[in-house]
């Protein structure tokens, strides 16, 4: 082959419909997008794959004008453009089907489909309702739907709301259609219908940006697949260039190099045993955790892991099933859970686990206040002692009990959440993403702490999206998908690949 201008893979791919170069967006404390470049071509489905927080949604919001990029260039058909607001994006033919529905509950289906575009049906300032409803029915027809367009969106189930959202985007005759997890809430039959529509739109020359973490769909639909992680593009492939396993590995990311697996524990008596738990979302969850054991709860984001610990702790009401604690039936209520020695480290540490404006001292005793009162009197010296002990024991880097938690690093904040429960005398720890957002050093320290808890005979249940972390940390693991437990891996079987095979949609 001779050297020349970079050859196009085929003719039509020579000119991208939309090109984003080095797009940056940061929020206080987070770089949501770190120099992302991205191309969208006509007649192509471009899949973006990534975990929650990888930057997919931020990218879309920049694309549709909801966020203003901090830096970078955009081109449409080779011409530089600026998208300063949703109206600019609409004018360029970009339409978005949002994950969080952009629907108004107490407007009807037709009013929602044409929200902001009523001008097309305006007669002397008044809306021509008949024309609007006829147009709405026509759009729905394309999706094979025969809804009564006078129905309030509020009265529709989630799946139908999603279809209305899709109809709304379709009605804009968009050249670039962005779909943010469009199948998350709809049934398989409706998904199939959506895929037919996507194929038809492709033929019409529409470019589609498709976001999902369902591998089956992605492999079937994607002409081009871009993987994002931590606000950056980590790989881009044409159809057939990567297997789903490779894609998921890329999406989930770093392995824990150089860390040896924690030695398996000698499990003691059963501390927690859940039988057939059901909530509004969860289906028949059964699991048990023994004293001295670290058990993993693996699965992709949105597979129902957080809901399991919330149900065990008594935050979400049970629709069925039983929980036994140390062999005795247990009533589920957060205050009862705390007194029974159950500790919950919530996923969102800053909002649910800590009172940020309060001091280190206040936070460490927050779950054990009832121990610090005698005859209705607070005993400050005891509180001080508890706090000093914890700072020393957990090696918390702080100026002292009087410092605001707000000013501490993520790792140290997480230690305080753990310390709060240690002070409360917890014997069962439910840890939801304990190392999210902490640096590598703090991570290793949190692993040591968890190991220490188990060695002291506590029972630990760990949720993590980082599968290498679970392999490193856990004696065994349950794997979840679609709000159900789909497998159990013993210490010998526990590997990243084994978790992946169970966690990802077949």
């Amino acid at each position: 082959m001779t050297m020349g201008p970079a050859p196009a893979i085929d003719g039509r791919q020579a000119a991208p419909l939309l090109r984003l170069s080095n797009i940056k967006k940061s929020f206080p404390g987070v770089d949501a997008l770190k120099s992302v470049s991205f191309e969208i071509r006509a007649e192509e489905v471009h899949v973006i794959l990534g975990q929650n927080g990888a930057g997919k949604s931020s990218l879309i919001k920049v694309l549709c004008g909801a966020y203003l990029a901090d830096g970078g260039e955009m081109e449409v058909e080779g011409r530089p453009v600026a998208i300063r607001g949703p109206a600019d994006a609409n004018a360029l033919g970009i339409a978005v089907i949002y994950q969080e529905f952009s629907l108004v509950p107490y407007l009807d289906i037709a009013q929602n489909i044409f929200l902001g575009r009523e001008g097309a049906f305006s007669k002397a300032g008044f809306i021509d309702k008949a024309a609007m409803h006829a147009a709405a029915r026509e759009v729905l027809q394309q999706l094979g739907l025969a809804y009564d367009t006078n129905t309030y969106v509020h009265d529709l189930g989630v799946a139908h709301q999603q279809m209305v959202e899709i109809a709304k985007a379709l009605s804009q005759n968009a050249r670039i259609l962005v779909m943010d997890e469009p199948t998350a809430a709809i049934s398989e039959r409706e998904s199939d219908r959506l895929f037919e529509v996507i194929a038809r739109l492709k033929q019409r020359g529409v470019a589609i940006v498709y976001i999902s973490h369902r591998m089956k769909e992605i492999m079937a639909l994607g002409d081009r697949i871009t993987v994002m992680r931590d606000g950056a593009v980590v790989g881009s492939f044409l159809r057939g260039e990567a297997t789903s396993g490779e894609l998921v590995r890329l999406m989930i990311g770093r392995s824990l190099d150089g860390m040896t697996r924690r030695a398996p524990a000698n499990a003691g008596a059963c501390v927690l045993s859940a039988d057939n738990l059901r909530t509004a979302k969860l289906q028949d969850i059964s699991l048990d955790v023994r004293a001295g054991e670290v058990v993993g709860l693996a699965g992709l984001v949105g597979s129902g892991r957080t809901e399991v610990v919330r149900a065990i702790f008594g935050v979400d009401p049970l629709a069925g099933g039983h929980i036994h604690l140390n062999g005795a039936p247990f009533t589920l209520r957060p205050d009862a859970s705390i007194r029974a020695g159950i500790a919950l480290l919530p996923e969102d540490r800053k909002r649910q686990g800590l009172a940020l404006p309060l001091t280190v001292g206040d936070n460490t005793v927050a779950a054990s206040l009832w121990r610090l009162f005698r005859y209705f009197r607070f005993i400050p010296t005891t509180a001080r002692q508890v706090c000093d002990d914890l700072i020393a024991r957990l090696n918390i880097a702080t100026r002292g009990p009087g410092q605001q938690v707000h000013d501490l690093s993520g790792g140290n904040q997480q230690k305080i959440v753990l310390g709060k429960w240690l002070a409360a005398g917890a014997r069962l720890f439910l840890l939801d993403e304990p190392t999210r957002g902490v640096d590598v050093g703090a991570k290793a320290e949190i692993y040591r702490l968890i190991d220490g808890l188990a060695k002291d005979g506590a029972a630990v249940l760990v949720i993590s999206s980082e599968f290498p972390e679970l392999v490193h940390l856990c004696d065994r693991a349950y794997v979840m998908r679609d709000y159900a437990i789909v497998g159990h891996l013993d210490h010998g079987d526990l590997s990243e690949k084994a978790i992946l095979d169970l966690a990802v949609h077949p």
């Binding site: 949703p86 509950p105 009013q111 929200l115």
Partner: protein, 325 residues
Amino acid sequence: MTDHTADSVLRHEAIWRRIPGVVLILIAMVAWFAIGNPRFLSGDNLANLGLQASLLLMLALPMTLIILTAGLDLSVGALLGLCGVVIAALLVAGWSLIVAVGAALAVGLIIGLINGYLVSYLSLPAFVVTLGTLGISEGLALAISHGDPIGGFTPSIEAFYRSTAWGVPTPVIAAALFCGLLWLVLYRTRFGNYIFALGGNKEALHLAGVKANLVHMAVYVLCSLSVALSALLLLGRTNSAHPSVAVGMEFEAIAAVVLGGTSFEKGQGWLLGTVLGVLAITVLRNGLNVLSVEPSLQVLCVGLMLIVALLIDRGRKGEMAGAAG
């Protein structure tokens, strides 16, 4: 391909459960007062009832739009008093009625712009913002009038208030026309759609390329302007302007909206429900008057009715949730 019929899509509710509690209360009250004193249903008393309802309607209808946007306007009572004082003072000073009403509209415009700008563009809580303009309006009214009633202006306002057309008091006709106008705006124009969207999902409105903040501000301006016009009804009723005569009317206006079934969340509401709410409050006060109950107890009864209506609606919603789950 037509498996998604409305039947499978809708979460059906029994018809009787959809009747708001206010209708039941209204029917019960009318029956009770009519039996208690036959004079309650006399033509004179009904005309009187209509007159009393018309002023409250002028305040409660635009208040409905504001509550639909998940907002609140506490300043309407104080603003009504201020506009009354402005009109009266200018008339006494020799200005024409048109100038006086124009000045009241300007005052309404300014207060509405302050409320709307702070609530929409600066996202300040409507409760606090309008509490502030309540204080400002009441203070201005006291300053202009030196705390005294202003009387002795043109009798034409009272003449208008007392006039009738086809046997119906003119203010009632005016309020009915206003109600029809707002109904058209709310249900037949894009501005109306946007009001529901502001309360239901302001982000969606913004993403649809609509200047959501501008629309939001316009709702507050609309409310304050109609309050300014309503000052004419207030002046006609008493033939004098008292700076604090209308203080507390925001309570009845908000109560009427809530009685009518409009929610503070999600943009859920019903303009004609507010008419029913206004009627319920007016019938209650009028009926208690006819039965010679003290005015202070009347306010107590309005508050009681509000809570009872909420309990009725909540009780039946609870039944619905039970049936569904």
